[in-house]
């Protein structure tokens, strides 16, 4: 039986530094998980010192990302963001009114609880074969198992009961809503980014970088909602100047950060 030593802050990991546990770097974006990109973008936006631990090991809720911070172990990107904002007295939404904060909550839930599932189905179920050739080097048996579990979970959620065409249309509806809300603005709520931009960038970056070309939404993003595509580039330039060091460039090199 393996003995798991409880880690000690100050000994096993530094104090006042978020230890961000997340999946290994992705081929074309810093992660294949929209939630890992969301949380890491938040840490950069809020200037919170952090260190990465790249592994497939999941955290206390059985998912990734998760963190260790000054003795606390936490999971769930949104709960982590609330926790750190409270602890460090940060408020990335300080310029927003109460109604705007609630609208931001709605968009965050839309992308994290709906767009997310559409992307999973496109990647691991409808276009699994192409994903194996282009965006993952995991063995095909592992990818088959991921697809089986995704189908099972998506069925429980409800979205997995729809046809592929219905899911394609729902994903386009989400991207259209984001584009229409963004309009001419630089970020979702104006000239400066707010917390919800982390969640939106996290999930939309998966459509832009980490689904096979055969996925209709990928072309839809470029051709039909170009302002949203440009917004992704803007978030990338603003918070990820080291983007090239955080990707494997199609598995041709190691990510150095």
């Amino acid at each position: 039986m393996a003995f798991f030593k409880k880690k000690e802050c100050g000994k096993d990991y530094p104090k006042d530094t978020v230890i961000l546990h997340q999946f290994p770097r992705g081929p074309y974006a810093p992660s294949m998980s929209g939630f890992c990109i969301k949380l890491e973008t938040f840490l950069r936006m809020a200037n919170i010192p952090y260190q990465n631990v790249h592994a497939y090991k999941t955290g206390p809720k059985g998912k990734s990302p998760w963190i260790e911070y000054n003795g606390d172990v936490m999971a769930d990107s949104q709960l982590i963001m609330s926790f750190l904002s409270d602890k460090l007295e940060i408020d990335l939404d300080k310029t927003l009114s109460k109604e705007q904060r609630a609208t931001a909550r709605a968009f965050q839930k839309m992308v994290d609880e709906y767009t997310y599932w559409s992307v999973l189905l496109e990647r691991w179920v409808y276009h699994r074969g192409e994903s194996c050739k282009t965006i993952t080097k995991l063995p095909s048996l592992v990818v088959w198992e991921i697809g089986r579990r995704t189908k099972n979970m998506a069925y429980a959620h409800g979205i997995g009961r729809h046809t592929q065409q219905e899911v394609d249309l729902n994903l386009e509806a989400d991207l259209t809503a984001l584009s229409d809300f963004l309009g001419d603005k630089k970020f979702m709520f104006g000239d400066e980014p707010t917390e919800v931009d982390c969640a939106i960038f996290g999930q939309v970056s998966q459509v832009k970088y980490h689904v096979p070309d055969a996925v209709k939404a990928k072309q839809f993003l470029k051709d039909c909602v170009p302002n949203l595509d440009a917004y992704c580039e803007r978030m990338k330039e603003r918070f990820w100047p080291d983007w090239d060091e955080c990707v494997t460039n199609g598995f041709t090199k190691e990510a150095t950060k």
Binding site: A102, R105, M110, E113, A156, H157, G158, R161, H162, D174
Partner: protein, 284 residues
């Protein structure tokens, strides 16, 4: 007798296989015999009438189904002729509500509404700009994909016993452990089931407060006129207010008077489109 015993002991493998095959065949034949007959419009159900398949009426609200309340509110707001059919099983997507209409069978409240919009040339969102439609879509997704699951987990995992004690469940309490296990399986896969009870309660309370801030002094979410998102909001919120046990902090909050704008909003929709609320929820 001795011969029978000898026969059984020497042929037990064949006997067991034979019994297993017989039982399986009987089960399959019964399933084939009992499968629902394809219904014919004009014979099995009237033409030009939406047949709304839903759960049996609830004791504290017309339905214990979040999306049933959403869809039935939509039908009433748009004065679409419909009939309720309480045979809710065997819907095309395995969920409730589902409809039959002029030979078409459909599941999923959103897709049903889209079909009915085309059929009856209606559009509850026609007064909204593209920007406002985007906001309404996001709010609808928040309520249907998050608040809904918070309430499902609260009702059927955290407070399952209370659902039966307060007479809010529509079926036998013998099914309680099965329902709880199935609900937890679903909410765990969705993600919300991985949170602690107190986290789920806090999330619901915070979301209700945020919804109240979003609604503000407006009559409806997007202004003075109802939109589809209001049908969705009424569907989900009606369950939290009237069909979730009183121990639920979200339910307590709605009854506390703190979110008076949300309560007035719900009463506005209930009084306008559900004048028969009391008769539909008469104690059975």
């Amino acid at each position: 007798m001795e011969n029978i015993k000898l026969f059984c002991t020497t042929n037990w493998i064949n006997i067991t296989a034979g019994l297993a095959i017989s039982v399986t065949t009987i089960i399959i034949l019964r399933k084939i015999r009992n499968r629902p007959k394809k219904r014919v419009c004009g014979i099995d159900y009237p033409a030009d009438t939406v047949i709304l398949h839903q759960f049996e009426r609830g004791k504290t609200a017309p339905s214990v189904g979040h999306f049933v309340m959403k869809l039935e509110t939509f039908l009433r707001v748009n004065k679409i002729t419909y009939q309720s059919d309480f045979n809710f099983r065997n819907g095309p997507k395995g969920k409730v509500p589902w409809i039959e209409y002029n030979g078409t069978t459909m599941g999923d409240s959103h897709m049903i509404i889209e079909m009915l919009n085309k059929e009856f040339k209606i559009d509850m969102d026609s007064h909204l700009s593209e920007y406002e439609k985007a906001v309404a879509w996001a709010i609808q997704k928040w309520i249907e994909e998050y608040m809904y699951w918070l309430n499902v987990h609260t009702r059927w995992v955290i407070l399952t016993s209370e659902m039966f004690e307060e007479g809010l469940a529509n079926f036998s309490s013998a099914l309680k452990p099965l329902i709880r296990r199935k609900a937890l399986d679903m909410t765990f896969k969705v993600g919300i089931g991985r949170h602690s009870n107190s986290e789920v309660h806090d999330l619901m309370v915070n979301d209700l407060r945020k919804f109240s801030q979003l609604l503000g002094n407006k009559n409806y979410i997007m202004g003075d006129k109802m939109a589809v998102v209001d049908c969705a909001a009424f569907g989900i919120l009606s369950q939290i207010r009237w069909c979730t046990p009183s121990k639920c902090p979200g339910t307590k909050l709605l009854h506390s008077g703190e979110l008076s704008n949300v309560v007035s909003y719900m009463d506005r929709i209930k009084n306008t489109y559900w004048p028969d609320w009391e008769s539909l929820t008469a104690d059975k």
